[in-house]
Symmetry: D2
Subunit: 380 residues, 4 copies
């Protein structure tokens, strides 16, 4: 692991998600650029001191010098966006598979470079767009693909949060600092941090790509250097219209990701904070609640593959995260044994999603700060 020290919470989430299926274990880490934080974190996570490093370069070098059965197989990078590219590229160059937090990189150029390296090496790269790891989301995708909603027409996708309602980035003890600093986070604030999740959810479930968009970005908190709110009307392939909104100043909202997809025949709704229920509506105001659980007779293969419990035993965020890790791990294992991974194993966000995510940021930043041009074509 690179980053993810015990001063934040996300490192421990990645760790739990990675080991949950007992198919991966933490063997080494460089958890912070501060040696004492890295050491303390590594010990807390149960590592021996000689596998706790203070630079990722050192880690990669020493690990690759170990016998193949002992050394790291993949690296998890959970640093600020500015520090994604270098360790990821370094890992790929040494033959190490990579798990990256989203957005994939600081800039679109870096993303394309990673994409090229992945293509050259054949290594596996996963991006933790966690919300598409939920089985309910996979069920939406499958039902849309099977035509259950009919031809799609309209999508609403929202991601409201309230934690940046005040200028907390000037305080310490939270991770608002780098997320609102353009030098570390990149061109977009809210849209990079959570707008990309909303966009990914939209393209993932629909199977359709955004072609152009009209947007408005806002910075409501005085003194902040990046957007903290925004909305976009998006035109997807096949004439589908989507409305995306993301905000970090929606005071009182914890983590309200949700999506509604309307087709000609039926619609589906999912709300992340109530993740094990889907609402399926159709003509005549008919509504069905689909309870996500391993014993539900109507669920498809993709959802079932990613469910651990029978209905009524709620799974949540960590399990969604673990689905990405499990599928990634199985793909890595197939890679190692020379087998072809199944489509279910390959169902995790990859380097192509990462490149498109950076293109989304480019496009929405251009569209959102511009009062003259209404529609901006997707920036490739």
């Amino acid at each position: 692991m690179v980053g993810g020290g015990t001063t934040g919470f996300i490192g421990a989430i990645h760790l739990r998600a990675a080991i949950m299926e007992n198919k991966a274990e933490l063997v080494c880490g460089c958890f912070s650029s501060k040696p004492e934080v890295s050491l303390e974190s590594g010990r807390y996570y149960g590592l021996p001191d000689d596998r706790i490093y203070t630079s990722y370069q050192e880690m990669f070098d020493k690990e690759m010098a170990l016998p193949e059965t002992e050394r790291m197989d993949f690296v998890v990078i959970v640093t600020p966006n500015k520090l994604h590219f270098e360790p990821a590229m370094m890992a790929l160059e040494r033959g190490i598979h990579v798990v990256l937090d989203k957005p994939m990189t600081f800039s679109l150029e870096e993303a394309k470079a990673l994409q090229q390296k992945v293509q050259e090496t054949g290594l596996v790269l996963a991006l933790t767009h966690v919300y598409t790891g939920y089985p309910a989301v996979k069920e939406i995708k499958a039902r849309i693909a099977a035509g259950e909603l009919g031809r799609l027409r309209r999508i609403y996708v929202e991601y409201p949060q309230g934690w940046l309602s005040e200028r907390i980035e000037t305080q310490s003890g939270n991770n608002a600092g780098w997320r609102t600093d353009p030098a570390q986070t990149g061109k977009a604030g809210c849209m990079g941090d959570i707008g990309t999740h909303a966009w990914h959810l939209c393209e993932y479930v629909s199977g359709l790509k955004v072609q152009e968009l009209c947007a408005e970005l806002n910075t409501f908190v005085q003194g902040r250097q990046v957007d903290d709110d925004g909305t976009a009307m998006m035109r997807l392939e096949q004439g589908v219209k989507a409305l995306l909104s993301a905000s970090q100043i929606a005071v009182g909202e914890a983590n309200g990701v949700n999506i509604r997809v309307y087709g000609e025949k039926a619609s589906l709704r999912w709300v992340q904070m109530d993740p094990n229920r889907l609402s399926l509506k159709s003509g005549g105001n008919r509504e069905e609640i689909i309870h996500i659980g391993g014993n539900h007779p109507d669920l498809g293969k993709a959802a079932l593959w990613n469910i651990r419990t029978p209905g009524g035993h709620p799974e949540g965020f960590i399990e969604a995260f673990a689905n990405i890790y499990r599928n990634f791990t199985l793909t890595v294992m197939a890679h190692r044994s020379g087998e072809q991974p199944t489509p279910e194993m390959l169902d995790f966000p990859n380097v192509q999603d990462g490149v498109r995510g950076m293109q989304f940021i480019e496009t929405i930043v251009k569209a959102g700060w511009n009062d003259d041009q209404k529609w901006v074509k997707w920036i490739e």
Copy 2:
């Protein structure tokens, strides 16, 4: 009453709402241009045959010839938009107060003419934007005005319906026909029918006016002549941003009007299909559910004035409608007795709201069918 025969449901709703407080009664009506439908409807509503008319001109003339204590005091007009102006103007010219269904008229010009006539005559005109008749909505307005949310930042207002997901206007037995016929409904379909409700809710609760908007209108159902879906990013006074969406092709949705308002300190959410609850959220993911009821200790004067039952005894759509009627009736009674109505009595949508509603239609139609100009100023 003009229109509102028993072939539709809305006439009976108006009647129930008008008489609920035992302060008004139905004395006459012209329920349809078809004599037999008008007669049958009038009899069903309990009128004697001599107070059932087949033209509103006849009705106004004969009624005004009756003694003052017997004749009609106000007229309720529930015809298609195209037929709002003429009977309304005719009534005002004869000294009869008016209740009109929204949108107020077929065109902005007609709306301005009505406004001028109301100003000249001092008569009372009410517009049945029913959703702002709910006590919960009045509570939102009062709390915002009192500064409980802090300075406002962002509003989301939605009105999803699904009943026009198919081209039912070609069938008989529903009222989709005139609502999708530009010759009867006016420039806008969905935006005139329900978009105006969403817009009114937004301006009513915030107390702020829309200044410009960027919109996209859509017609998803092939062959339809008006918009059946649309979204708008709206810029309100004081830098507030609002996102409005309205759709009649949101298949499976019954009547999902809802609004969320975010200020610097707190936010409020209301969903019309669950009308007696407000969610008040603030920092730290704190949430309070405000149960609307006459005995709730925290509700303000405006809400309490419009509540009939203690908490837990749900009020609904007809009561919201009845609030408009009650306040209108009390204002008419005050008018008759030469007294000044209280602010609570005057709290119903009036001719100014009607003119702004028509301006909203003008503006969103211009913005929504236009790919070049991003922001369109409010059309006065």
Copy 3:
């Protein structure tokens, strides 16, 4: 009307419910034993002074002396339980139909006397068990009767309220006083006031009668003279088991009546504070939400007869009340014109329900304060 002055809220509810369909009007009343309260209330409700009385005996005598087209057709009695029997019997003796608040009388003997008088006279008596007036409840009854749930097994019915959590009966300005005074309310407190509603709901939807029960009643608030909480395990016909709980010390609960009915094949759930939704569950954790509205394609005749609006336009407590009044009024009108009322018209709680309600009180009081005998047979 007898009782129902403007010092309480329930008189106005009865009035709105009675007139909502424009089939009945308030013509006279004796709203209080205090002349000035009666006069003030009558004037507020719009009555002329000569139809406002200070005793019901005077009212009945003077009204029956009026011409048949002018005088009262039925009386609404909304006094404390102790004052139900005398005015009701007096009205029946004079040929006046009766609407009574529940429980029907102070004692079971009075109830049986009313029953006999109704049978002798053929007059109509309605009891305002309002919760069975909701269309959703009628839909449950219809689906059970049609076998959609399969053979019934178990019912849970609850009625939690919190308004008597403290000893407010010692204060003025609320109606806790008579409700907790055995001399006015009868043998039971909570079980008479709201337990009877829960019991009625249970027998109404299932179509099955309670045969014996095992109960515990409690008085949690010190100094209170009647039960304020209780639970009962009930054995119904056909081996169905029901669990009833009612409480007025469930602090924070407004008016949480709800019922769940489980059959062999499916189950239904209704919650009064969310009255326009039914949850239908069946094997495999399948769940359907049935949105109550006039345009829902799956609703039965009984529900549709009692619905006024299309889906998504919420109806509530006053409309449920108005359903009892409408059906009662139509039955009275049929009675007057010598026609046979339809089954839909006759669908309101009547004198038989009133007698059974008093038997329920007798039975649960005996069972609930008794630690020795486990099961107590229904007291006829």
Copy 4:
């Protein structure tokens, strides 16, 4: 692990829960009495063949012969109730700590024997009453203990499930067989399997013990040999009344555990299928939703100790399970190092809870099948 092969789902749940905090790992197992199932399961879980056993006796013997740093520290027993006691006692006799699924044993006598052995050896025994592992439940307990609800009055605890609505125990491929077989499951069916969870939840949050109860047990499915449904009125210490219902024939219900606790001042409600929300209600129909999350400013120490994510990132069943394992593991580690575990570490169901659970079964079986004696004292 004893039991928990890949033919069921619960073994994998225990494994994920045990390893989630990276403080325990699976080192050996005897997953089935069928050698091939045990081998296949062990390999699936990633064990080398020499640590996969076919009898627990063999496992205990061979493991204890390994060096201390290699051998098992604790055993997880997830077999049918009949097979709890023997392996548990065997482990305790060899100095191995134990995790047991509930109910603890087949009979009360076995439970008391285990309790004595635990007291003698000082070893740690945890019982997986998973629902009290949820942070929301710990928050309820803490708020009650702190007096936030005032003196308690009434508790409702429910556990409805529907999976045994039909006689599926005669089919293979489900685990209904042993659960409905008195020779394997013990005296109680539904009440042993899920009633004990409901009872435990009630005593855990209130801190009060049941003293006597009045119950009715039912067997609705023909041919079934144990109860599949039941209700109990329970009298707790300090005059608190509780109503417990549990059913496995509540068709359509997945796993609806929920509890409501009413005190003099306020009440709390928790629903397991929506586990990250608490509803706190108080006078005047006020309601607060407490969103369980690591950053909520109002949560107590016990809840925070058991939370992994910030608000809006749902935790679920596996995390609740993992809380039991984490606290157990930390207690075992403290035991090994001779330190005193903190109260937070000791917060898991232990052998005393196991004995009381068996006493609950004894008491409710006696009360529930008995029509003569109303109240049955807690059987020690």
